[in-house]
């Protein structure tokens, strides 16, 4: 890494004077049971080199055979991104030597992607929709993993080496490439993040991948360039590789805009290069420049045949496409009767599925939203965890609301019950019983408390009988206090009035 300090221009200043253009390449690992060209299993987290066959190791004599499910998934992704599905397409070999690439070539679609020319609408946090154009989506295979061993700097040569695990080698990938995204202006980092997030949601909805960012199922390369104005030709771009979280995507774009602006301000030229993202420091650094790096000597993979998806097959796949996230969100908003701002908050909080499941378990949409966006969201924020990771299920939230609806607890008690559930004390019913929080609905117990209260404030009865209902509240308050809030205030009111009338 360079020790030289990189100059940056203040972000707001940079985007005032330059028009950023971004482009994003997203790789998604498909959740197939076997590899792209090989029947080796794909279990995540297995012991090193236990998910390999002679084919995955690229042993002499081995040959690839294409995974039909992987092709189906690729078509599914293409259709969901409104792409054309190629009538015929091929694989090519991308030749380069690297120890984690067992054959020393990657089998990939080069000039003939399976899907091309599509678009996807991306919704920003404030509800603005940006349409991102998709240039292509193509199939390829993943590489193995290197682990660097030994040697800090200064050690003798040969003291350092690498260990290679080929479990990941050959896992099916689909790479999705956008056209240059223009016109985002100062919101470019936000658009980049929302785009990757949109794809992640899409992959999950399509069932093509678990799309877990922390496992590297979804990886993004972000291209950034600056130009003096939207009318100017595109500037020289940099490609920052392996930016693997939503937040990092946003930060990396932002950083590159500030950095490139400083380069341009100094009268220098932006170097077209690969850059590396450093999660810890939040900066990008220049990748090593390789001689001949671009001469990959692509040629059609002779061991594989062209893929020519029949239109009937494509339509069959299209018919099985699930409702896509954006459409689903619109439908749910209508069904639930949420205002735009409410729905946006729900989406941004990642609570759509949670509320949907809570409603499915019997709660009213408004109540479900109240719990997830209120008490639970606050607790999650305090604890610093994702909402979905809170130790309470949608079914439990629905059960909790059911107790309120049945009048067995009031809102205040319900929060205590919820606290018990979050503390692992059991279901709402169990917490309620164990903590003895049930509303006092036994009229006898209430009447005792009311009589005591009336006896303590004898003037109240006379006032009420004289037609002044105001002081009833004081009695109710006293009863509630006496029952430590566990009484149903409505019932107490009825009984108080009844009691006074009878007296």
């Amino acid at each position: 890494m360079s020790t030289q300090v990189t100059r940056l221009v203040d972000y707001d200043d940079a985007v005032r004077r330059f028009d950023p253009v971004i482009g994003i390449e997203v790789h998604v690992e498909l959740g197939t049971r076997t590899k792209m060209f090989d029947a080796a299993p794909t279990e995540f987290g297995a012991e090193p080199n236990t998910q390999v066959t002679p084919v995955s190791l690229g042993l002499p004599g081995t040959l690839p055979v294409l995974n039909r499910t992987a092709v189906e998934h690729a078509i599914r992704i293409g259709l969901a991104l409104n792409c054309e599905i190629a009538e015929t397409c091929r694989f090519a070999r991308k030749n380069y030597f690297y120890p984690d690439v067992p054959k020393n070539f990657q089998t990939s679609q080069y000039d003939e992607p399976i899907a091309h020319d599509g678009w996807v609408d991306v919704e920003l946090e404030d509800g603005t929709t940006v349409r991102v154009e998709i240039e292509r989506a193509h199939m390829e295979e993943d590489a193995g993993k290197n682990t660097h061993v030994g040697g800090a700097t200064g050690r003798i040569h040969g003291a350092e080496y690498s260990l290679v695990d080929y479990n990941r080698a050959g896992i099916p990938l689909v790479e999705i490439v956008t056209r240059p995204i223009t016109g985002a202006g100062e919101r470019a980092p936000e658009v980049a993040r929302a785009y990757v997030q949109t794809l992640r949601d899409l992959f999950r909805a399509l069932g093509v991948s678990e799309a877990r960012m922390e496992r590297g199922n979804v990886r993004a390369d972000v291209n950034v360039s600056l130009r003096p104005s939207p009318e100017a030709p595109l500037g020289t771009r940099t490609e920052t590789k392996n930016v693997n979280s939503f937040r990092s995507v946003e930060r990396a774009v932002r950083y590159e805009i500030s950095r490139q602006a400083a380069v341009l301000d100094a009268g220098d030229r932006v170097v077209q290069e690969t850059r590396h993202w450093h999660e810890d420091t939040g900066i990008t650094t220049s990748g090593r420049v390789k001689s001949d790096a671009e001469d990959y000597r692509y040629f059609p993979e002779p061991d594989l045949l062209p893929v020519a998806p029949s239109r009937a097959w494509v339509e069959e796949i299209r018919a099985t496409l699930p409702e896509l996230p954006a459409v689903r969100r619109r439908r749910l908003q209508a069904e639930w009767g949420f205002a735009d701002a409410e729905m946006r908050d729900v989406v941004n909080a990642g609570a759509v599925e949670l509320i949907e499941a809570t409603v499915a378990a019997g709660a009213a949409p408004a109540a479900a939203r109240k719990w997830w966006m209120g008490e639970l969201a606050r607790t999650a924020k305090t604890d610093g965890v994702e909402l979905a990771a809170m130790p309470v299920t949608p079914a439990q939230v629905a059960e909790l609301q059911g107790l309120v609806d049945a009048g067995r607890i009031n809102d205040k008690l319900a929060r205590q019950v919820l606290a018990g559930v979050l503390a692992g004390e059991g279901s709402p019913e169990q917490v309620l019983v164990a903590r003895g929080l049930e509303v006092v609905s036994d009229d006898g117990a209430l009447l005792t408390a009311i009589d005591e209260a009336l006896a303590a404030q004898p003037d109240v009865v006379a006032k009420v009988k004289a037609g002044n209902l105001g002081p009833v509240g004081a009695i109710i308050g006293a009863v509630m206090k006496a029952t430590r809030g566990q009484a149903d205030a409505g019932r107490v009111r009825e009984l108080v009035v009844e009691r006074i009338e009878q007296s």
């Binding site: 049971r33 090193p48 039909r68 091929r90 590489a143 080496y161 290679v164 059609p300 002779p302 045949l305």
Partner: protein, 98 residues
């Protein structure tokens, strides 16, 4: 066609990751120059209207069902490795980044 220079042979050897001695480079440059000149004849009849053929027989859509096979036992996978450690292939330090 342009002739194959020594520098070009050295560049190609780098791309192909083959160490060549100076003698080998000299000899290959001479030999390949003759061969390239001879094979360059293909362009005489490869007119734009002729489609390219990459497979001898025109097959398409050969797929495999997504059903896992038994993986290699890890000991077999590593049996031929020049060096291995902890179930992984041990390779010299990797300087170039992909």
């Amino acid at each position: 066609m342009s002739s194959l220079s020594r520098d070009e042979v050295a560049r190609l050897a780098g791309l192909a990751r083959i160490d060549l001695t100076e003698t080998e480079i000299d000899r290959l440059a001479g030999e390949l120059d003759v061969i390239v000149e001879s094979v360059a004849r293909v362009s005489e009849i490869a007119t734009p209207d002729v489609p390219a053929t990459s497979h001898p027989l025109p097959l398409t859509n050969v797929f495999r069902d997504d059903v896992p096979a038994e993986p290699l036992p890890v000991d077999d996978a590593l049996a031929a490795a020049p060096a291995a450690e902890g179930g992984r292939f041990a390779v010299p330090q990797i300087l170039e980044e992909d």
